[in-house]
């Protein structure tokens, strides 16, 4: 299975990772090799096999809808790249 330059550019946008022009060829080769490895799966007969998401087939536990966490805004924001008035600062989204 080959992966095209266009695929890589599209996936990079979806993954929010900037990929520079000169990195694309190396990625084309590496990702192509990984997908070749993965293509062995096609040989397996999986008709009537249920997908396995949790090894013990456990389901998500539900908890009571109660507030159990204490407010630690200051501790969390102390490690943020930029904050102001208790809010996280990011570049302007709306002009």
């Amino acid at each position: 299975m080959t992966i095209s330059r266009k695929d890589i550019e599209k996936v990079a946008v979806l993954a929010r990772i900037r990929v520079d022009e000169e990195q694309v060829s190396a990625l084309e080769k590496d990702l192509g090799n990984i997908l070749d490895l993965v293509d062995q799966l096609g040989a397996a007969d999986t008709a009537d096999v249920e997908p396995l998401a949790h090894p013990l087939d456990a389901v998500q536990r539900l908890r009571k809808d109660e507030v159990t966490e204490t407010n630690q805004r200051e501790a969390f924001q102390a490690i943020a790249p930029a904050t102001e008035d208790g809010l996280y600062l990011v570049p302007r989204v709306i002009e």
Partner: protein, 485 residues
Amino acid sequence: MHNKSVAELSRELERGEISSVELTQQFLDRIKQEDGRFNSFITVTEEQALADAKAADEQRAAGNATPWTGVPFAHKDIFCTNGVRTTCGSKMLENFVPPYDATVTGNFRKAGAVCLGKTNMDEFAMGSSTESSYFGATTNPWGLSQGDKRVPGGSSGGSAAAVAARLVPAATATDTGGSIRQPAALCGITGLKPTYGRVSRYGMIAFASSLDQGGTMARTAEDNALMLNVMAGFDPKDSTSIDRELPDYTATLNEPLKGLKIGLPKEYFSDQLSPAMEEQVRNAVKEYEKLGATVKEVSLPNAKLAIAAYYVIAPAEASANLSRFDGARYGYRCDDPKDLMDMYTRTRAEGFGTEVKRRILVGTYALSAGYFDAYYLKAQKVRRLIQQDFINAFKEVDVLMSPTSPSPAFVQGEKTNDPVTMYLEDIFTIAVNLAGVPAMSVPAGFVDGLPVGLQIIGDYFSEARLLNAAHQFQQATDWHQREPQ
């Protein structure tokens, strides 16, 4: 002192033959003198460790001791430690100081253990050699005397090297596809990956959530049991944690092995294994026969598909988990972002290393529109076939034995250029994670002066039996006591 096990150190502390402050200082001095050669620690917490040791001595004096009170150890730098930098081996978290403890971290704190620092690892636990760490590669203590700088395995290579080099008697670790067992094998120590869900993942930085499991590393099986006693148990903060009775893992270490049924999966004794490695593993199995075990060949027919299934499931889950690193709330942010998209894409391009980005891209591709069924769903179906192989095998035998890795520790740089070659390092370990069963690696010999690991795989929640089997082997052999020169 540095050659003593956790059990021995615990007894000496109990008898008052040494204080935790003295012991902690000795190990800290040893890290200072020796770790320049290995780079097994990312952060050493000297001041905190000595304060904790002083508190531990007071606890002992007051008669409130657990077996761990005052015993030094280290955490893999994937477990969040309140107030102590937790990097996961990444530039993305170079300056991340968590405001909370992982459940595992808290458990050791409550037991009174003294953490000396945080150990090196492959970035975000993605790797089999601890070469992808932003903080530089870790070097295996074995092989140095022959003039070779070899990998310690990975991703928990820092923990494994630190334990092998006697810088700490024990260290925590995690295993998503072999990251406890393969480095334990390559460094000649004992490691255990418990059943999926047995140890809380809360505060353990996520890589692939349906596979990740925290576990133990030490030189003896007994010390692994002491660690698991502290680490295992139900945690409401981890939605995949399993609520199930918790044994005392040290209580059954001395049970005789007579009648133990061992299965040797024929797929794991294939031509991927060198004759020298195979000989060591078969000798170890013979030792078990002397201890009263019986041996038969079994088959895991779908094991050959494990690496392919893993390299869909793990990257797919990683691509989702690592989306949280966006430069907005914590961790690295690029300089002068011109808009939000620029902040995301440059933060992630600059903050993640090559292998992490590769896996995020593969995972994103496998989950993208039009490919989900062909990749992720197909891999999950194959995963069930692999699990069924193990279920069938454990109808016939009690444990499975195999080599842990296809070869001993390789030279640094040998496999970094081709990701697929590196992935094949985990050929004997990955199926275990897909099935979710527990497994250990136990020192079982040497090839060319380098340690060989025996992998012992058990049925769900059979950790006590694995530890018992490993402990009895270690009463009959001394591979686990060999010290690198």
